[in-house]
């Protein structure tokens, strides 16, 4: 297998854009990525488009608008990991030599309010057994029962990511919050409050994956992994109605992380910064623990020791994470890859993590699907 590089990246801001179509968001991100990669018409041989709510032929519509249709184009749905799934497919095609350069994009315009998913049988929605924030709340409560994570620790995660987001022009919320702001925000599903949850929104991201590195900054894809769930965990991201008592089933994130360490021959100590799933504040702590970036059940201490903050050993969600950027499902994982690429190039401006050489991106959600991508300068 030959090395695979991030040759170019492009991003459309995450937010709400009533006057722009889904295709329009994608066009902007793809155009920026192709320019960054110095790849023109005929310069890529396949395209993968991550989207969940985009509908039929979402990626084709973007490429049609750009006059770039003709290559094999596949739309990829893998829940919150859709963009990572698309990236893993593209990376495999380049690594195997099937193609030299593959375009990956992720686009989304989420409906407002609580996320609705065709995943659920209608009766589960009718009965109230499909409420996404309620599942998040039960996972948060379990985390708090099994370790010493407090409501204040959850608030601290949200404060950290919103502070990081102030420096990110691509984020939806660029306002610093205090612990009191978070702890005084309305309860959505206890123990989770409004400012501990991310907002579904809109955005697009694109990555040109290639056997040829970017002219100025070779950044290698050291791992691009997708995993799904195993049966048995009642609170698994596959949102079953039952599971085993005494659940010790590895999570999709743990499975993906394990595979990513194997694929990259790297480990948690090698990671200089990470962009992880933070759909709610507890999820960031769970993500960090499941990825092995802090010991299991030590997430509370990690937060209280300023873990993940800028200037710490391993900044987490330097971009502001989904808590400040918002979550456009199909674009969120590739948005992380764009952020890591800028960071590893030293081009992240006021939110630059000094000297970053290795970055990890992670999302997990519906399916269940978890993806872990590791980039190395």
């Amino acid at each position: 297998m030959r090395p695979v590089y991030v040759r170019g990246v492009g991003l459309h801001p995450f937010g709400r854009f009533a006057d722009r179509t889904l295709t329009g968001l994608g066009v902007e991100a793809v155009r920026a990525a192709l320019t960054d990669a110095d790849v023109g018409r005929g310069g890529f041989q396949a395209a993968f488009c991550g989207t969940v709510y985009g509908g039929v032929a979402t990626g084709h519509k973007v490429l049609t608008r750009l006059g770039l249709s003709g290559v094999p184009t596949v739309n990829v749905e893998a829940g919150c990991a859709s963009g990572g799934a698309a990236l893993s497919l593209a990376a495999a095609q380049v690594a195997s030599g099937q193609h030299d350069t593959v375009l990956v994009l992720g686009v989304e315009k989420m409906p407002r309010g609580m996320i609705r998913s065709s995943f659920f049988d209608p009766w589960r929605e009718e009965a109230g057994l499909a409420a996404t924030p309620a599942y998040f709340a039960l996972r948060a409560q379990r985390l708090m029962l099994e370790s010493d994570v407090s409501a204040r620790d959850l608030a601290a995660v949200s404060v950290k990511n919103h502070l990081h987001g102030v420096e990110n022009p691509y984020a939806m919320y660029r306002k610093a919050l205090s612990l009191d702001d978070v702890l005084a925000s309305p309860i959505v599903c206890p123990p989770l409050r409004l400012l501990m949850l991310c907002a579904p929104n809109e955005g697009a991201a694109a990555v040109v994956v290639s056997a040829v590195p970017h002219a100025a900054a070779p950044i290698r894809i050291a791992a691009a992994v997708l995993r799904s769930h195993l049966a048995g965990s009642v609170l698994g991201e596959h949102t079953p109605l039952a599971g085993l008592a005494g659940d010790a089933v590895p999570t999709p994130t743990e499975l993906a992380a394990r595979a990513a360490w194997d694929e990259s021959a790297l480990g948690p100590d090698d990671i200089d910064l990470a962009e992880v799933q933070d759909t709610d504040a507890a999820r960031e702590i769970l993500s960090v623990e499941e990825l092995g970036l802090c010991p299991r059940h030590a997430g509370g201490r990690w937060v209280r020791d300023a873990g993940g903050t800028m200037g710490s050993r391993l900044p987490v969600n330097a971009s502001g994470g989904l808590l400040s950027k918002g979550e456009p499902l199909g674009a969120s994982a590739l948005g992380q890859v764009v952020e890591l690429t800028w960071q590893l190039r030293g081009a992240a401006g006021a939110r630059q993590v000094a000297g970053a050489r290795v970055g990890l991106a992670h999302t997990v959600g519906r399916g269940a699907n978890a993806c872990v991508t590791i980039l190395q300068r």
């Binding site: 309010g113 609580m114 609705r116 659920f120 049988d121 209608p122 009766w123 929605e125 009718e126 009965a127 109230g128 057994l129 499909a130 409420a131 996404t132 924030p133 309620a134 709340a137 039960l138 409560q141 379990r142 029962l145 309860i187 959505v188 599903c189 206890p190 123990p191 989770l192 049966a231 048995g232 009642v234 609170l235 949102t239 079953p240 109605l241 039952a242 599971g243 085993l244 008592a245 005494g246 659940d247």
Partner: protein
């Protein structure tokens, strides 16, 4: 009595006046699954035996839903949690009849009940399952 219907077929049954959930036990690996299914998610075996579980259990996790989720037809707020069924090795995601978190605690004994959720346009009452706290001994 107005007519009523279960919210979906195959979820629960009343036996001798007591509500149970309809699970299945895999004939090959013995894992329980709810709702009952033909093919075991643990081992892939295609033979299983219908098994009633409940009604008693222990509350493991709980929260409350205060804003109306898309498609939801019942009253607000409502309790939502994880209950571990007595002696079954099985945990279920469930509605809780008690929506006030201050009146719930982890480890509390709870009991399966069937409760009216909403009414169809033709007046039929839609019934679903939930767990309700048992009086402290």
């Amino acid at each position: 009595m107005p007519p009523s219907r279960p919210i979906a077929a195959g979820l629960f049954d009343i036996v001798d006046g007591i509500a149970h959930l309809r699970a299945s036990r895999c004939d090959a690996c013995a894992h329980l699954q709810f709702p009952a299914c033909d093919t075991c998610p643990y081992c892939g075996s295609a033979t299983s035996t219908p098994t009633l579980v409940g009604p008693g259990g222990t509350l493991r996790l709980f929260t409350a839903v205060r804003a109306r989720p898309p498609g939801y037809r019942g009253p607000l707020p409502f309790g939502f949690g994880v209950v571990e069924l007595d002696g079954a090795g099985l945990q279920v995601i469930t509605r809780l009849t008690e929506p006030d978190p201050d009146r719930l605690h982890v480890g509390q004994h709870v009991r399966l009940v069937l409760e009216p959720l909403c009414t169809d346009d033709d007046g039929t009452t839609v019934v679903t399952y939930a767990f309700t706290p048992e009086a402290s001994p």
